[in-house]
């Protein structure tokens, strides 16, 4: 892996990196017009902002004193960490699980085996080997960039909270844990040194597995000790997902941006999420009234379309949500109220889940800007 790319992955560098592609990244969070008066009068919410795991991964603190930049402190690309030990390419190419993982992910010849080894090594207190901390940090930004870009292109009207939630569904810790463990077949290094000795396993082979300091340790069979004294202890899901992030950043270093985008598309964006099921409206009626007003449409009216068994134990009502002559959505339920609420929710979802035909992301070659609407005017 080229040294310059790894240096790029330091925390501050990533933010610099973002600013070099500002247009696309800044659109990841839709700009809401706020008047200066509002910022003065607004009181701070007593609840802290909810942070998703993919956002936390982008803001990891670098607990390391070895981070240095001797020449110029403002040259963020020159920040470097020094490691006492590294696994060389020759050594890495002797580890069967690394070779297999390389082939399984269909990585190119440029992608070095030693990068994979480094990707699987998390920061631990007792190890001097090169770890994946900066790589996973950079990978987290790459993933969040391409996934948000994809979501914005596919669902341009998605509210910010749902957009973040959908991004989390793709690249949150649990999703990437599933990718690493149940799709890519990465294993955690859980056996003790004694077991390894008895299995006559070469010492080198442990670098083919994911190594991290865990919150939980199995003291003996059936007894698990929870809690770790180490500051660097991370959960299993975080460790696995950081390995995925690091592998993605390695791809960027070895094969460039296009290959990374293709890789994310094939391995992450090809997974199934259901954006429609993420919504939970607190008062759909009020929201729809506001929305229609903002869209300069008539206020919604609910009309009964069909019904059966009104006096029986299992009635069914079909209602339509109309704005003037246009039917926005249809709802069905075993009471009029249920049917009404379903129709309102469906009408809102029909608006928010608007999807252009053949959506193109801004980093695609044949991208043409598309005007969808003026954005949320009533928030």
């Amino acid at each position: 892996m080229s040294a310059s790319m790894l240096r790029f992955a330091s925390r501050r560098t990533v933010s610099i990196y973002n600013s070099s592609i500002p247009k696309a990244l800044n659109t990841t969070i839709r700009c809401i017009a706020t008047s200066p008066v509002k910022t003065l009068t607004e009181t701070k919410s007593s609840f802290p902002d909810h942070k998703f795991s993919y956002e936390k991964a982008c803001r990891q603190a670098l607990v390391d004193n070895t981070l240095t930049n001797k020449s110029d402190t403002l040259d963020f690309g020159a920040y470097q960490r020094t490691f006492k030990l590294t696994i060389s390419e020759e050594e890495a190419s002797k580890i069967p699980s690394i070779l297999a993982l390389h082939a399984r992910l269909n990585l190119s010849k440029n992608y070095q085996y030693s990068t994979l080894v480094r990707s699987l090594t998390c920061q631990t207190a007792d190890s001097d080997y090169a770890d994946n901390l900066q790589m996973s940090l950079f990978g987290a930004h790459l993933l969040s960039y391409y996934v948000t870009e994809h979501l914005i292109a596919t669902y341009p009207r998605l509210p910010v909270s749902i957009l973040r939630n959908a991004t989390e569904a793709y690249i949150g810790d649990y999703s990437l844990y599933d990718v690493a463990k149940n799709v890519w077949g990465i294993e955690a290094d859980s056996t003790s040194n004694l077991e390894k000795y008895l299995a006559k396993e070469p010492r080198l082979f442990r670098f083919g597995r994911l190594r991290f300091s865990s919150h939980t340790t199995e003291v003996e069979k059936g007894i698990t000790k929870i809690g770790s004294t180490s500051e660097l202890a991370i959960t299993k899901a975080t460790a696995f997902s950081n390995a995925v992030r690091a592998i993605v950043s390695g791809l960027y270093a070895h094969d460039g941006e296009e290959a990374t985008k293709e890789f994310i598309k094939n391995h992450i964006l090809s997974r199934k999420i259901d954006v429609g099921k993420m919504f939970q409206f607190r008062s759909p009626g009020k929201m729809l009234v506001k929305l229609l007003k903002a869209q300069k449409m008539e206020a919604p009216t609910i009309r009964l379309i069909s019904e059966t068994g009104r006096n029986s134990s299992s009635p069914v009502f079909i209602v339509g949500c109309f704005s003037g002559e246009h039917m926005l959505a249809e709802g069905q339920g075993s009471s009029l109220k249920e049917a009404r609420i379903r129709s309102l929710v469906d009408a809102l979802k029909a608006f928010y889940l608007y999807r252009p035909l053949d959506p193109k992301a801004s980093s695609d070659k044949d991208f043409k800007p598309l005007f969808v609407d003026a954005g949320e005017t009533f928030y």
């Binding site: 909270s161 959908a166 890519w184 077949g185 391995h267 997974r271 069914v316």
Partner: protein
């Protein structure tokens, strides 16, 4: 956004949409160096193993000598524990059968064989939706 709260989800794998990853990750072949039942697998190891492994770089092959035992081939699969894999005893079988059994392990998903209860299994909802009697023209509706 005010008024909308979210329900968290975890994305589901669809192997083969986008990238395909072979579920088999490791194959272990055990043989005995002098036992008669291992003759087929010994032939296989000598004549065909090198070519066979080249076809599947994504799988680790491990060859173990187990003197005095019948030969066994084991497959380990992604997403399941190492001791849950599949095992086939290949005693007294000739080189071709051993190769076919290896192919069987390599191409398997690692899941237990079972009879599917439905013909189509999908993560996606039906595009057509469920048929509704309420959307039929009232003149043609079924009347009791």
């Amino acid at each position: 956004m005010t008024g909308i709260s979210f329900i968290q989800q975890v994305s589901k794998a669809r192997n083969g949409v986008g990238a395909f990853i072979r579920p088999c990750k490791k194959v272990t072949l055990t043989y005995c160096n002098f036992g008669g039942s291992s003759k087929g697998i010994r032939d296989f190891l000598r004549l065909r193993l090198a070519n066979f492994t080249k076809q599947y770089p994504e799988i680790q092959f491990q060859v173990l000598q187990k003197p005095g035992f019948h030969p066994v081939i084991k497959g380990e699969y992604i997403g399941s524990d190492a001791n849950v894999g599949k095992q086939i005893c290949v005693k007294n079988w000739n080189i071709d059968v051993v190769e076919n059994k290896l192919k069987l392990l390599v191409n398997s998903s690692g899941k237990q064989l079972k009879k599917p209860k439905q013909n189509v299994k999908s993560l996606n909802e039906s595009v057509r939706g469920i048929w509704s009697p309420f959307h039929v023209d009232p003149a043609h509706r079924y009347k009791i």
